[in-house]
Symmetry: C2
Subunit: 417 residues, 2 copies
């Protein structure tokens, strides 16, 4: 049998798990304190819900679950072909927490108070090509506000996410923000047709990686007119693209004004500790976003550690009636890997003490350990091996800070760091 | 799109999730305090690992994950039949936490201190026929000790699990204990052949549900001799089957003596609060158990709330070398459903206060909420709706205990329960 975990998934050692627990608990507690309520949705979703969910590229990364028993037999007996292969599967693993939340809201509408402010901290699955840093099973920490169409919701999500990041020791970061409506209006005013928005945005989204030139080349290959591409290039080559300069280009000032207010509120309520920048090039992949989109970029690590946006049309797909919604998700794995590499310490961890016992001293050891536990220690009992010193070295390496030997035949000794 | 969660899975409302969080956290903290270390394994396992794992009936309940991309295309192009259908799947969802732990140990052997005392609290998946009370996605809380062949490990697991149950408010329970070796020796001495142990045990395991008569009838249908069945029936009809009476039947007294010591130690170290009973009819389904098996039965609810046993041969399948191992698992869902029905309160929950704000008072509300949070409250801000009273009623129902209205045009009011 194979000892390695499935590619793209991880076994976490005790030390790593202790850090994950600490981070997860701290983030959850900050979210809760700020008035968000924790909810749980299943990791398994209906296959059709997943495939029809406008998840952008993620739809190609779904782990599908095989039908079982008679249902599977029937599909096989009828003949499986490349065309009807979707018949093989009735369920799948979720690729994010937003789709399950939308379904959840529709399912539990009558039990919930609107606006609903909720937390999900849970695993999601994506069948990415296995490569370093790309996990196929990973944790997301989401907060969402459903039922509030105003920018207040965005402000609260950004403040609360920033607080969670502060609480786990992240300091130097910037919020980048944009609005899909603004982006579309700009692209429109440059000359791209409304029906081409998605494909233009997919190329634009790559600017981080391939630069302005790369984006323009890709748009050429997609067959857009030289004139429009040149205009787009001029736009991107401006010294700085501010919210004001973009607002000047547009007739409908609504989205720009609402974005300006969100940015102001975050700056003021964040007491200057949460820098916010308008970034017209922020696209974000998910097809379901309808308004604001935002990310938090770590200055120290030059990468995005949280992302989110408004998805006012997704819940309607389940409920038959639109409900305004906006969410913000911390990319837990990125944060875990940064802090893990730094060898981050866990504040207030209890002291770990090992109680080693001789042949006939198991019961005394358990009773002694119990006393240590009542004094706010973690205590483990171990049968004393022949090479006690070597064993103690091993325990010390693994994080024990105190050692007690109870052996009738010798005396009780106490080592302490 | 379908609003209901997949059959056998659950959406948990905020109140339910708060109870689950409290239970999970309390159990985890007790386990940790007692010297067990938390580890995490993936929910996805290699399909072959799962199918070869001696999981008993659970092997029929595995959710298989479909291959993807070219690999899937190749299988389909080669032709899918009922015989080769296992080719469709390369991965599966785990049905318990013991198999992943055995793989984990083999994979991380060099990083771990032996004996290893570890915790897993995580989801598992079984494709049970959907019916009331049977979940397909559910949580297990396991502790395991690897590398200790002595009964001390069983004693520690039982004491620690009992402490976790005490901590979440369970009081009236009994530990039932047996040993597979003892059971097999008894069945053997009655006349069943060693190669028939598994099928006899599968029938015997049903005694709770179908009674002695039912078990004997099933054994008859399976073709066992009338004489042996009659002897078995006589054995079961005894007034009481004690460990002593069983010991008298056997030549090898080892398992009975070790079981007696475990029972004594638990009674003594549990200070009389943890009753332990020998029960020869305790079989437990998993094929991988090799020695002691045990359950905790709630006296108040007449059902098993935790179960475990020794599996000294499972790790060897991954490592090529046997490592003694024993585990105990709390059936979280059973406990959650009992406490949920009782309407259990969460001790030390923070007070929840809602801050309602008028049109221009969002920022003041956020600042006021911040002050409340610094005083150990949970504070949520809400835009004040037209029907403020009705909204407050709704919030109160959902658990808010204090209300503040900040509205420039009116004055600040404070309601408090």
């Amino acid at each position: 049998m194979k000892a390695a975990p499935v590619k793209g998934t991880s076994d976490y050692l005790p030390k790593e798990t202790a850090l994950r627990d600490y981070l997860q608990r701290t983030i959850l507690d900050v979210y809760k304190e700020n008035g968000f309520e924790h909810i749980i949705t299943p990791a398994i979703e209906d296959a059709e819900n997943l495939s029809k969910s406008e998840g952008g590229d993620n739809l190609n990364l779904i782990f599908n679950i095989l039908k079982r028993g008679e249902k599977l037999e029937k599909v096989i007996e009828d003949g499986v072909t490349l065309e009807n292969q979707s018949e093989l599967s009735d369920l799948g693993l979720r690729y994010d927490l937003t789709l399950p939340l939308s379904r959840y809201f529709a399912n539990n509408r009558n039990e919930l108070v609107l606006p609903m402010k909720c937390i999900q901290i849970d695993r999601v699955y994506r069948a990415e090509k296995p490569q370093k840093g790309r996990l196929r099973e990973f944790l997301q920490c989401d907060i969402d506000i459903l039922g509030d169409e105003s920018g207040d919701a965005e402000v609260e999500l950004i403040l609360t996410t920033a607080k969670a990041l502060f609480a786990i020791g992240f300091k130097n970061f910037t919020v980048r923000i944009n609005d899909r409506r603004l982006l579309h209006a700009v692209l429109n005013s440059i000359g791209f047709a409304p029906e081409d928005m998605e494909t233009v945005c997919i190329s634009f989204d790559k600017m981080d990686k391939i630069g302005i030139e790369g984006v323009c080349e890709e748009l050429e290959r997609k067959g857009f007119s030289e004139e429009v591409i040149a205009k787009f290039e001029d736009f991107l080559l401006q010294e700085s693209i501010t919210l004001d300069s973009v607002e000047d280009m547009l007739q409908d000032k609504g989205p720009a004004e609402s974005l300006a207010r969100i940015m102001e509120d975050v700056k003021e309520l964040g007491e200057g500790k949460i820098p916010v920048e308008f970034d017209i090039s922020l696209v974000r992949g998910q097809g379901y976003y309808t308004g604001t989109v935002f990310e938090i970029e770590s200055g120290d690590f030059g990468s995005s550690v949280a992302g989110g946006g408004r998805y006012d049309k997704l819940i309607g797909k389940f409920l038959g009636k639109d409900v305004p919604a906006v969410g913000f998700s911390i990319g837990f794995e990125r944060i875990f890997s940064i802090l893990s590499e730094q060898g981050a310490d866990i504040p207030d961890a209890k002291k770990r003490i090992a109680v080693l016992y001789g042949e006939d001293d198991f019961k005394s050891a358990v009773q002694f350990a119990e006393k240590l536990r009542s004094e706010r220690n973690v205590a483990s009992v171990y049968r004393r091996p022949k090479k006690t010193g070597k064993f103690i070295d091993r325990l010390e390496e693994s994080g024990f800070a105190g050692f007690i030997i109870i052996d009738e035949k010798t005396e009780v000794q106490y080592f302490d760091q």
